[in-house]
Every structure is written in C-alpha cells, then in structure tokens.
Symmetry: C2
C-alpha cells in the first residue's frame, strides 16, 4: 500500500484527535471530516478504525524517535541524556497544551489503557512501543554502569522498567490533574532518585 497524501493526512489527524480526546470519543466520521476525506476513501486505506489506530501509533512513535535518538545519543553523557529527556518530555506536553488546550499525557498509555480489554492489536501495539522505548533507558543505564555511576550488578532491565513506569505514571497523573506543575517540579528529581543520584548535584537548565 503506497503512502499517499490522503492516507497520510488521515493517520496524522487521527493520532492528534485521539491523543487529545480518546479512541472512543473520536469517530471515523470525525476523522474524515477533519481530513476532508470521504468515508469510502477511509475504508480504501484501512480495513477498520482499529487498524488506523495501530498504524497511527506506529507512525507517531517513529516520528518521535528522531528526537529520542538525538537526546539519547551516546555522544551525550548518560545523566545528560536523562536530563535532556525530561526536558523533551516537558516540551512535548507544553506543545500539546498549546495545540489541544489541555495536558494530554502519554498517548500510548492513554490509548493502550483505554483499549486494552477491547482490542488486542491496539493493546499489543502500545505494549510493543513501550518495550522499544525502554531500550533507550537500558542502553543509558549500561553506560552508567560502565562509567561507574551504577554498581556492576545493577539489574538493567528491572531498573529500566522502573523508569518506564515512573515516567508513564507521572504523565498519566498530569493528564488527570490537567496540570504540568507536578511534572515540572518532580519528574527530573524523581527520575534521578530512581537512578540513585542526588539531582541537586547537577546543573540547573
């Protein structure tokens, strides 16, 4: 299936609308209306609304990876990576507020949690994205061990899972509170505490 302008527009608008609201509250008609595409065309490109969601999640993460690759570049010191990652996450949330009018949290967590019991393909895609994302943490943690910032016997996988859960939890809390304050106040400090590092020793930025 070739990538076309119509298809691309559907995918892009879909993830925006679903991230802002929710999977269920955004109808195929809504998406088509926003994209100025008729319904028949929608079902020419996607066999179901759920399939569009899965494609949109994949594409959204792939686009975000460009930023993640930059932030988690091995040319940055390990702690610097986490610092820049926190900044990136905060900026994304601020952008979402500007574009969509409220705190949106993590789209994969929101969609994944909402649809977990209703559509297994959506659940699996969310799960897969989290697993892929966790590899950024794992790699950085290994570099921390190499630099002596963490003990040799650190359980990398478990520690990366902790970071995942913590960050994801903060994002969800921010969405439910509809406020970025706790995120701005606590995310960096909390993340560095999980790493066992007193963030007061780091440069403010």
């Amino acid at each position: 299936m070739a990538v076309t302008k119509t298809r691309d527009r559907l995918v892009e608008i879909a993830i925006e609308m679903i991230w802002k609201n929710s999977y269920s509250s955004v109808s195929v008609d809504d998406i088509c209306r926003s994209a100025d595409v008729r319904k028949g065309s929608f079902y020419h490109y996607f066999k179901s609304k759920a399939e569009l969601a899965v494609v949109a999640m994949e594409q959204h993460y792939q686009k975000a990876q460009v930023d993640f690759d930059h932030v988690f570049s091995p040319t940055n010191a390990p702690l610097e990576r986490f610092e820049k990652y926190v900044e990136l996450a905060l900026n994304k949330q601020k952008q979402a507020i500007k574009n969509y009018g409220h705190v949106c949290g993590c789209p994969f967590a929101s969609i994944g949690s909402e649809m977990a019991s209703q559509d297994n393909l959506i659940r699996e895609k969310a799960d897969e994205v989290f697993r892929r994302h966790q590899r950024y943490y794992e790699s950085t943690l290994r570099d921390m061990v190499a630099e002596g910032l963490l003990p040799e016997d650190t359980d990398i996988i478990a520690r990366a899972g902790e970071i995942s859960s913590y960050v994801c939890g903060q994002m969800m809390m921010a969405r439910v509170q509809n406020s970025l304050e706790p995120l701005e106040r606590d995310l960096k400090i909390g993340l560095f505490r999980i790493l066992g590092i007193d963030s007061k020793h780091l440069n403010a930025s």
Copy 2:
C-alpha cells in the same frame, strides 16, 4: 436521595463493568441490562451516565478504604505498611483477573485518563481520589522520618507523589501488557528503592 437496592446495584455493576472495559465501551443499556433495571429507573437515580460514574468512583474507593486503613494502620511498622500494601494491590489485581478475565490496572487512572478531556467532573473525581490516597503515603513517610529511616529534611509531599506515580504507572503497564509478572517481580523492589531502602534486607513474604 436514599440508598436503595436498585441504586446500589447500578453503582456496583457500573464500576465493575467500567473497570473491566472502559467508560465509553459500557453503555447505560449495558449497565441496566446487567442490573435488571429499566432505563427510566436509571435516570430516576442519576441525571446522567457521567454522574453515575462519579458516584461509582467514590463508592468504590470508600469500600477499598477499609482495606487501606487496615494495611496502613499505625500499629504496623512503616515499612511493613508498604509491604502489605504491595501485597494488597497484587491480590486485587489477581482477583480482577479471576473475575474479569484480564489485568485491569487502577480504575481511577484508567477512567480518569480516558475521560480527562471529555468530562471535567470525572477527571476531578479521579484527581481527588489520588490526592486522598496519597495521604496514606505521606503519613507513612512521616513515621519513617520519626523512626530515623528517612532524613529529617525529606520532602514528604514530593516523595509521596513519586510513589503515587510509580505505583500508578506500574498498574497501567500491567493493564497494557495484560500481565502480572512485571508487577510481581518489580513493584515491591521499585517501591523500596524509591524509599531508599534495599528490599533485600526485608523478609520475603
């Protein structure tokens, strides 16, 4: 409005169905059918589906508080409270699997995240429940300071928020993964790491 059998049945069945699936995927008709109540009666007790959800969230948390009060009783040593809390959370999830066929996570996070942008009363109720729940953590952390397990200058509120986010994140991940394994493997260890305590020094249970 008096508490009646009909109203109670609606509230109880609603939270079960919504926790298992999602707010949007459970219709008023579904709830009425399960409760063997006609729709007119539903709207005699609740002015909208959203109002039922808010009532159901409050009632669900109040029922859960009985267990929380027991677990977080000051007669338990602070670390013991957190240990028992992890056990309680795990048991609730196991029960949910048995009753509903899959991992359900935290109902307040799931409903709150799903509805955050669509219904402000539901969002606020979820937020409020999290705030109330966090007081268990705060109180326990203060007792830890008193016992010398944490430094005097510990930021209790911030630390309680970290615990909230971490636990909530783990629950959401479990729902998305539809697996209790990571929860069973990591929740206790991760929680104690946030507390700055090596959980290996504690009794297995």
